[in-house]
Symmetry: C2
Subunit: 447 residues, 2 copies
């Protein structure tokens, strides 16, 4: 395709009230790209939005249809979730994470988005004065927006600068005033795809114990560190987790990516047995219910949505069951993303991009759902805008609160040979634009 003129994009951004595309949310970027598709008549490459690029797990679809036939659509789901989902969720966690969480602590949510939203809110209300959220940067942009929407105070630091044993000192610094109630991270990391090691998770766990902080562990990409084979239920190696090192944790496990089931908006949180039953006087006073776990279901989730799709809960129960029984190999299925990443990275390198996060502690970063790229010394806004002009939609690392300049590139929509070819062509176009427009004085002055 021919590059779209800059003023066309500027007009679309103005129409959509977007002041700086470099700071826009994913959904806003999607909207802009869709508008530009209509204007240009060309299909964009959607590398911004983590839509599953695989078909939904068939086990789930069959179970969900059966549940609908059995009449679940008329009945509110139980307050703490469908019993089979709680049971199989608990076993699934044992099988792939080697952690013990009782079924009562497995609570379904409308995606991990809802789980995290309500966990942040609950954690901030556990004890007066202890209400700050600590984020590990870079991170999932929506997680930051959640705190903003809820009016919660937060602090953060760039994980990249504090790998390994360095993490201990940094956490001590961030937590020592006692104001942090919870810390939040995704592992593998979105967008950098760095993975916290067991040593690092031990440090996180120890610091959570020391400062009475709850670790909120987003496992959206469970078992997707393909450098190790995590595909065998009940057999090491397992997905690393902070749950091995503290009782102050809640894991979030979503069906969206591991089972390509994003459309049905279903996930679970897994609240540690100890935290589930922990009594908080402030909660008792505010809601007449004192325990963490009961409040999560009966107070927070209840008034937020009264649970999530009854039939989708049945679907997720079946997918957990099939996976832990070895009848459905979810890791083998999503490994496709790793293969796409390998190929896409090569194409970006060919066109003189470089990886932003290229090391994971001492090793190479793994190939997974995301990677991060930058070009020359272009800033985030220029980078995303010029990629858009060439029909490639991404999000910036600025929106992920990285201190590095670059873009997050998602593998999900690179579905075919033709897609890789298109990527190659459009990155060539991008290079052409850079040569024509950015290597003359006029544009250099702007940059």
């Amino acid at each position: 395709m021919k590059p779209i003129a800059k003023d066309v994009i500027d007009k679309v951004l103005a129409d959509k009230d977007i002041v700086d595309i470099g700071k826009a949310t994913i959904r806003q970027c999607v909207n802009v790209a869709q508008e530009l598709e209509q204007i240009s008549g060309e299909k964009f490459m959607h590398l911004e939005f983590g839509i599953p690029g695989l078909d939904a797990c068939e086990v789930g679809i069959q179970a969900q249809k059966m549940a609908l036939d059995e009449g679940v659509a008329s009945a509110y789901p139980p307050a703490s979730g469908v019993e089979t989902l709680k049971q199989w969720g608990s076993k699934f966690i044992k099988a792939f994470i080697n952690a013990d969480v009782k079924a009562e602590g497995i609570i379904p949510t409308v995606g991990s988005m809802q789980g995290c939203y309500n966990l942040l809110l609950e954690c901030s209300q556990l004890k007066k004065g202890k209400n700050v959220i600590l984020y590990f940067n870079p991170g999932f942009p929506s997680h930051y927006l959640q705190a903003k929407v809820l009016g919660l105070e937060s602090r953060s630091f760039d994980m990249h600068d504090f790998r390994g044993e360095k993490l201990r000192g940094k956490l001590e610094e961030m937590l020592s005033d006692g104001r942090v109630c919870a810390l939040l991270y995704s592992n593998p990391n979105n967008p950098s795809w760095c993975c916290l090691s067991d040593d690092e998770l031990r440090i996180v766990g120890e610091m959570c114990e020391k400062h009475d902080v709850i670790a909120l562990e987003d496992m959206a990409y469970l078992c997707m560190d393909f450098r190790k084979d995590l595909s065998h239920p009940f057999r090491a190696p397992f997905q690393p987790t902070v749950a091995h090192y503290t009782d102050n944790y809640v894991m979030m496990i979503s069906a969206s990516k591991i089972f390509s089931y994003a459309g049905e908006r279903v996930a679970i949180v897994a609240i540690s047995d100890k935290l589930f039953h922990r009594f908080y006087p402030d909660l008792q006073e505010r809601y007449g219910i004192g325990k963490f776990g009961d409040n999560f279901c009966l107070t927070y989730l209840y008034v937020n949505s009264s649970g999530c799709s009854h039939s989708a809960q049945c679907a997720l129960a079946s997918m957990f069951k099939a996976s832990l029984e070895g009848k459905y190999d979810f890791v083998g299925t999503v490994k496709e993303y790793g293969m796409r990443a390998r190929r896409a990275k090569d194409i970006f390198m060919k066109h003189h991009f470089h990886l932003v996060y290229e090391k994971d502690q001492d090793g190479e970063i793994g190939d997974g759902f995301f990677f991060t790229v930058a070009y020359d010394d272009l800033n985030c806004t220029s980078l995303i805008l010029n990629m858009m002009r060439c029909g490639i939609s991404t999000i910036t690392l600025t929106s992920a609160r990285s201190e590095s300049v670059g873009l997050r590139v998602c593998m999900s929509m690179l579905n075919s040979e033709a897609d890789f070819q298109t990527l190659d062509d459009r990155l060539a176009t991008f290079e052409g634009v850079m040569e024509r427009e950015y290597h003359d004085e006029y544009i250099r002055a702007i940059l």
Copy 2:
């Protein structure tokens, strides 16, 4: 059944951290009843929880299964909802409410619970200093809890004391300091089943215009004022609405009751065309998006759950379509609740209960999904506890912030001849308990 001993119930309440059952939420009451069922070995009559007592609308089930077959489970629903749902939702509103709302303003939510939660939050953030919620009492208990969870300030008044033209003066008093951002009510009212008349809705609309307040109109029981025949699409009489008198409104229409589709957690909000596009500088500053409607989808709903079940959205679209095309008579189907109410009221009267809200302005209250009863001069806590002892689970009017003493009784679970017989027997048992225990000095002293 034989009445359950009082100390058995006291122990269950203590185990569940419930200090006063008279102030418990519905979900807590359900939990207590379930525990007592296990202990007593007797099935309770669940008159507390508005579970649909009818089968889910078959049109929806078929459409949802088809959507799953077509692969929607893998794709996130669009940020502002599935297009067909938006289109048919807009037409459905025209057909049964005679209001004009463009498809863009029809946004699916995870039940009206999620719609209301996020509307309250958004309304409270539109303008600094204008952030108080006004509730019409009595009301749906969860609506009050939403403000508490979100830390929002609220005020309220008992609708019952200000019917007709009296409403104007009361609203003037409540709104005149300019701090109220939104007012919230259900029509028909939950729990009293009183219905705001067109004259009253006109007053609400005029006061919303005068004081720049947004009316949040919960239509959970759309077209269920069976005193009028509201069953014919595109033909008067229509469901009354504030939308006829102001542009400052959002309607909430849930599939839970009208289509008995509560399990799938799907509803729509309908934002007025004018409000959808209204620009709020405070929103622009906080989120980089200024318009009310865009923020609702792209900010609030997005970080809360990233939409609701894709397949359930398809189901709801089909149910709207079938209804407005006259192929599915949802009003005729739910009219069953009205017939049950007539019969249940007679049984309560036989056992010397009285209706709490028995008048609706000058007329008799209609027969619908709920009615309200009290017994002698028993207070709320004694009333609900002693009903529980006799195997009947309800919620108190205290939890609905009524100033009257009594219980809300829901028709949904009175499914068969045997249920009415059981109700009759258990109310006889209740009367026996009252005679034995409450008409002696010891208990009178407690009361």
